[in-house]
């Protein structure tokens, strides 16, 4: 590509500023302009990072794992360039680098920490030549966009075998057969310039008290990638994650060196576990809920370990992680009671976007005692996946009998309502309101917004009025989560109010 980079950076910045002025909020705009002007911009800017880059990919947990790592690495004194807003395709990463770059060769930060969309891993590995790659899990997700799991696994395997992917240190989830298998080729890799690349850092859970009675319905990766025979599972922890071996070829879960034992899940708020690394063991009190966040924490700890961060710093970083954007975020809202009285009400936002992720959110919710008020928001925009069939693979049955009131919203509100009905939630407890602002008011308890006609028909079964102070749980898909945050911002609840 001809021409100096400087003027191209200036043009991309100007277009980005213009786009923001015109109300375009997309963080990827300047990066998209830049990569059009200079296709290797990511590589050129990434090369300015004195300590190189690390990449994180997975179906679920990318943003949270990266947030945990950022918390750890900042404590370790590493200045980061990090795409924290979750813009994880080439445009978003180029924007992040562009914002940090200055002068002819400068950049504000020493290490690049990038979460990467599963589909974009190959391209970003080629450009960024990362020193380490963390791969967390592969679950069934947005089949209309990503295609089959095995297709992604094949693409990842190819990326890791080729230059420069083969020189990156690998951090892999031992409990996900499809992900762990990607490390198999490393053991006998030849021609790698980086000798430590041969040592894969595996992480996994060792706690049989967590084992599920049977594999979730939507589990994938049940067959050995090596020989095709069905795996035999000694324990299933989450989706298809667990302890497995292939009875046919002997392929088995690799022994992880970064492990969690003694896991205690504390409802929708927190989790505790013992973290083991070759440097020792320590208890971690994680301010995020659910086994899925224990896996995210293990992943972050394993990558930090691979970067030679001390166990003490890892634990402190994990314990001080804040909820990422829409992932178990909590805000406090004022709601109007039927009597006109204003009360404070907690709203907990739990992003749901695919069966495996939704199941963990539902499992975590089910740990909380009593009946819950839910605001489910099902959108079918491109970023959500146009195909809403995944809600039928998610185990909403876990909440049957535990729902006080479910307000269903979003572009496919009725489909979600039907899903809840067939999962066993009483019809009288389900309401449909596609328009999100109205649905939020209804769910919070602003009964005056309901039409009388609905009052007669919809609640004839006597849905109990929601109590004033019980939290409202919002389960939005991705674009619904963004819309919900915009609504909260309009109500004056901003990011600073997030705990």
């Amino acid at each position: 590509m001809s021409g100096p980079l400087g003027p191209k950076l200036a043009i991309a910045r100007a277009v980005g500023a213009l786009s923001r002025l015109r109300g375009g909020g997309a963080t990827s705009v300047p990066g998209k302009v830049l990569t059009r002007l200079e296709p290797d911009a990511i590589g050129l800017l990434g090369a300015r990072l004195s300590r190189g880059s690390v990449l994180i990919s997975a179906t679920n947990g990318k943003t949270t794992t990266a947030a945990m790592l950022a918390s750890i690495l900042k404590r370790a004194g590493l200045p980061l360039v990090h795409n924290r807003a979750g813009a994880n395709m080439a445009g978003g990463i180029a924007s992040t680098l562009l914002a940090a770059a200055h002068g002819r060769a400068g950049i504000d930060g020493e290490l690049g920490l990038f979460e990467v969309d599963e589909f974009w891993l190959a391209q970003l590995v080629a450009q960024l030549r990362p020193r380490a790659i963390l791969l967390g899990n592969l679950f069934r997700d947005q089949l209309d966009r990503y295609g089959e799991l095995e297709t992604i696994a094949e693409r990842w395997a190819k990326t890791l075998q080729e230059n420069p992917g083969r020189d990156a240190r690998l951090v892999l989830n031992a409990d996900d057969p499809m992900v762990a298998d990607l490390g198999r080729a490393r053991a006998d890799a030849e021609g790698s310039a980086n000798r430590s690349a041969a040592d894969v850092v595996y992480f996994g859970v060792d706690d049989n008290s967590l084992a599920l009675p049977h594999m979730a319905h939507a589990a994938d990766a049940k067959h050995c990638r090596n020989c095709g025979a069905p795996y035999s599972f000694d324990a299933v922890y989450l989706g298809h994650l667990g302890h497995y071996r292939c009875p046919s070829c002997g392929q088995a879960r690799p022994a992880p060196i970064v492990r969690a034992t003694d896991v205690h899940l504390e409802g929708v708020r927190a989790a505790r576990f013992m973290l083991h690394t070759p440097a020792g063991a320590a208890e971690v009190a994680l301010p995020l809920p659910g086994l899925y966040n224990v896996y995210n924490a293990l992943a972050a700890a394993a990558l930090a370990y691979a970067l030679d961060v001390s166990l003490e710093t890892i634990v402190a970083g994990l314990q001080n992680t804040r909820a990422a954007f829409g992932r178990a975020e909590t805000v406090t809202l004022s709601a109007t009671e039927p009597g006109g009285e204003t009360v404070e009400r907690e709203l907990r936002i739990l992003l749901v976007k695919n069966p495996a992720g939704a199941n963990e959110v539902l499992r975590t919710l089910a740990l909380e005692p009593g009946e819950h008020d839910l605001l489910g928001v099902l959108n079918d925009n491109t970023a959500d996946g146009r195909d809403v069939s995944w809600v039928w693979d998610a185990d909403f049955e876990l909440l049957a009998g535990r729902v006080r009131r479910a307000t269903c919203s979003g572009t496919r509100a009725a489909e979600l309502a039907v899903r809840l009905k067939y999962a066993g939630v009483e019809l009288a407890r389900i309401e449909v309101q596609p328009e999100l602002a109205t649905a939020l008011s209804m769910a919070l308890g602003g009964r005056e917004e309901e039409e009388e006609e609905e009052e007669e028909e919809g609640t004839a079964g006597g849905a109990p009025a929601p109590g004033p102070r019980a939290p409202l749980y919002a389960l939005p898909t991705y674009t619904a989560m963004l819309a919900l945050r915009d609504l909260l911002a309009e109500r004056g609840v901003t990011g600073s109010a997030l705990t």
């Binding site: 799991l149 195909d387 069939s389 039928w392 572009t411 067939y422």
Partner: protein, 247 residues
Amino acid sequence: MSTASRTLRVCALYPDLMNIYADRGNLLVIERRCVWRGIPFQLTSCGLSEPLDADAHDLFYLGGGQDRDQVLCTEDLLATKRDALHAAAARGAIVLGICGGYQLLGRSYELSPGEQIAGVGLLDVRTVREDGPRLIGNVAIEVTLDGEKAVLAGFENHGGRTRLGVDQAPLGRVLRGYGNDGHSGFEGARSGNTIGTYLHGPLLPKNVWFADWLIATALGLDRQELLPLDDTLEREAHESARIAAHA
């Protein structure tokens, strides 16, 4: 109103492998709608290498799977279940194939260019590969069942293009979306009570009238003989699926 409470016996073929597009939603809708009406419901699964009893079920269900699983199931279908499926179809049992299941009910299925596998042969269709993108999106079709026209709405996502044999009837006419091959205007295939379609999403929660048609037909009843249910939410879901398809 029929008070006959003969059990509806459903057999899910390879439910652990052929389930990629939330096929269990279809089975759940049939089950709940039977239970709500007091119709005894029985679900049996039949997996790899298990024999299939042609007379033990009223409805045979075959969903879609990943390519690797689909090949495993095809080999097994031909080896252990083909004759039973033909016998079941011949006595009027319902055989419903969705997406990959539809392809496997046909004569042949092209896995990759030049690599063809034989299907069960209950429907006179052949699925081939063509250059061009996968056919993905919301879809609505018009079907005629028992002389009545009605709309099925759903989602399709298939790389294969399915061609009907000269005497093979489609399931319906495409209103919006791609259908069998993106240009013929036909979707699915139907021979008697053997039905194949690309519509998932899943199909039955969005089209409960069709779930009821399947239940009634499998029990040898008329749809009007089934106890009516409160389908307010289901009708809204059907409407929103049609709106998504712009139909």
